[in-house]
Symmetry: C3
Subunit: 159 residues, 3 copies
């Protein structure tokens, strides 16, 4: 685990603030704690309630540049951390991020999903240190909700 | 948890019957219990052994209407509950549905996956009450087994 | 569980050797152990560091034949077993494979994902016996990292 002070310091050094978690309006919630495990919902790159970009990732006209998509994965990862923190009672209670699944809305010719999902993976490492180093799957899907370019979900173990 | 009587009453009020779970014919099974957690296989909208619809969800000629797909997600969700019940020894042993993943076979222009997967999410809430409220990911994939429009998988915690 | 001797014998009978697990070079790792559960990263059909095939699975010119894809899923499954073994301290510590997700990079008209993913599922059964029989989801995605035809991830419970 990382203690609350060091996590707060890393977030500040990265210029990041954990966003608020929207109140659930549906038959599902942003994260569920089950004993010592937290499962988050798939998180999209919302900032202040607005998707920062829409479309599919790839190389070519009308597609989202992979370097931009990396940033969007980072934002989605930050939202996933916020959902996790809300269910865990704070990130200092996280013993380990055990799994991340990164879905990338992809042009069928784009095969660089790992580089995009690194935006989320590296954020977890930057904020949580070794606690944030996880197993991961990255896949390229046809389309995501609201035409989001990326979606990030986490499974975490609590202390 | 919900007790067996209230679950049976809700199912009856909804006009639903948990279907039988097909005997496994392959190297995998409908659900596995691991200590106090149950993982289901991805479930398709089968009724009496027949897929209720095939194709991709979207808006336009030759596509499955999203409102119809909502119903198919509900059926797949019911099959997932049946698989869960068989591994748990009854739904009254479920402490919480912790995660649902909803895969929607999607036209690349269709971005309403959340509304489709609500068919499964709302069923869980209707049958199980607060116990059924879960974390969730909804994604739009290219194609699903046997050309199914939807596939629903669950992770649940037992009491 | 299966004991180490019987697992070694089955692997030998199948002509298989668990491959080495590459050292992590990124913000994620091949597998994470969390208490008595191991989550693997999505594994691709690498042999000696090279993908054995690239492309999308389907029937027709320019597509990967499903029978070939079955073999690639088997190789990806072997890599997933290797990742699991490394985190578990040996496959003899596995109490049960609880979940497998098989992503198949699919032509939109190809609906035989279950037959492809059987390559991985049947490998687990062949190597681990009843311990290897799991819940499973098989989905058809647009494209996978490095243009891999398949990706296999596992969740396993340890003794």
């Amino acid at each position: 685990m990382s203690d609350a002070t060091s996590i707060a310091r890393r977030l500040a050094e990265l210029g990041l603030v954990l966003p608020g978690v929207p109140a659930p309006v549906a038959a599902y919630v942003p994260a569920v704690r089950s004993r010592s495990t937290v499962y988050t919902s798939g998180q999209l790159p919302f900032v202040d309630g607005v998707l920062v970009a829409t479309g599919k990732v790839g190389v070519g006209t009308g597609l989202i540049d992979p370097a931009d998509a990396y940033q969007y994965a980072r934002i989605a990862g930050l939202n996933a951390l916020a959902a996790l923190a809300s269910a865990a009672g704070g990130l200092e209670h996280v013993a380990r991020i055990v799994k991340l699944v990164g879905y990338v809305a992809s042009d069928p010719d784009f095969t660089g999903q790992p580089g995009v999902v690194n935006g989320a993976s590296e954020l977890l490492r930057d904020v949580l240190g070794d606690v944030g180093i996880h197993a991961r799957s990255a896949v390229g899907v046809t389309v995501l909700p609201m035409n989001s370019p990326v979606e990030i979900e986490l499974v975490a173990d609590l202390v």
